[in-house]
């Protein structure tokens, strides 16, 4: 079946640098996309979302970009901090009931 996937399982960045986490999705019918952050021992935490009628959305230190032509989603984190260390998941909403998650990218912050 169709699913959401991520390109890199681990991303290592220097503290203070910008981080870019990528995601490829395959369900062209999906209308809503979300990025979640999951810290060890916790459930996923909502970061930012975007609807398919937009190509960019900004939050506090985070930006999500959506390219529907190539079915690509990215999360940009500005001035990465130690507290940003976590696993990041993209998720899509192909229907009204459940979300489809990708496998996740582990973001590691180096001092």
């Amino acid at each position: 079946g169709e699913s959401v996937g991520l390109h890199l399982p681990t991303l290592s960045v220097q503290e203070g640098d910008n981080s870019i986490i990528n995601c490829a999705y395959s369900n062209s019918a999906s209308d809503y996309f979300i990025w979640y952050k999951q810290e060890s021992g916790k459930g996923p935490q909502f970061i930012i979302d975007i609807r398919s009628n937009m190509d960019k959305r900004q939050g506090q230190r985070v930006t999500v970009l959506l390219n529907k032509t190539v079915k690509h989603l990215s999360l940009q984190i500005a001035a990465t901090q130690p507290g940003d260390s976590a696993v990041y998941f993209c998720a899509e909403s192909p229907s009204t009931d459940g979300l489809t998650f990708g496998k996740g990218t582990h973001l590691i912050i180096q001092p």
């Binding site: 909403s93 229907s95 998650f101 496998k103």
Partner: protein, 115 residues
């Protein structure tokens, strides 16, 4: 306000046993969804309930069942446990019946180990 709460935190069962996991949504939220997260992977959708009725079901066998109570809390039941059922079971609540355009709030999960 308290977030989504789940119990128990950890659970160890043996193959063939049955397990019941519990979830209390955020106050005012009427929708509860269940997800299974195997180690190293993203969560997989199991069920969604809204106003005590099943609204959606993922690709899981009939050994998995759930229900929602009048106070909107929910239980997930898994029968005839298999080793492959070992996972973190996440509950998420949402104020609306649809997850489309509506934020889901996740609980900390129940870690189930099947031996």
């Amino acid at each position: 306000d308290a977030g989504v709460t789940q119990s128990p935190t950890h659970l160890i069962k043996t193959r063939g046993q049955q397990v019941t996991l519990r979830c209390s949504p955020i106050s005012g939220h009427k929708s509860v969804s269940w997800y299974q997260q195997v180690l190293g992977q993203g969560p997989q959708f199991i069920f969604q309930y809204y106003e005590k009725e099943e609204r959606g079901r993922g690709n899981f066998p009939d050994r998995f069942s759930a229900r929602q109570f009048p106070n909107y809390s929910s239980e997930l039941n898994v029968n005839a446990l298999l080793l492959g059922d070992s996972a973190l079971y996440l509950c998420a609540s949402c104020v609306a019946g649809s997850v489309l355009y509506n934020e889901q709030f996740f609980g900390p999960g129940t870690r189930l180990t099947v031996l």
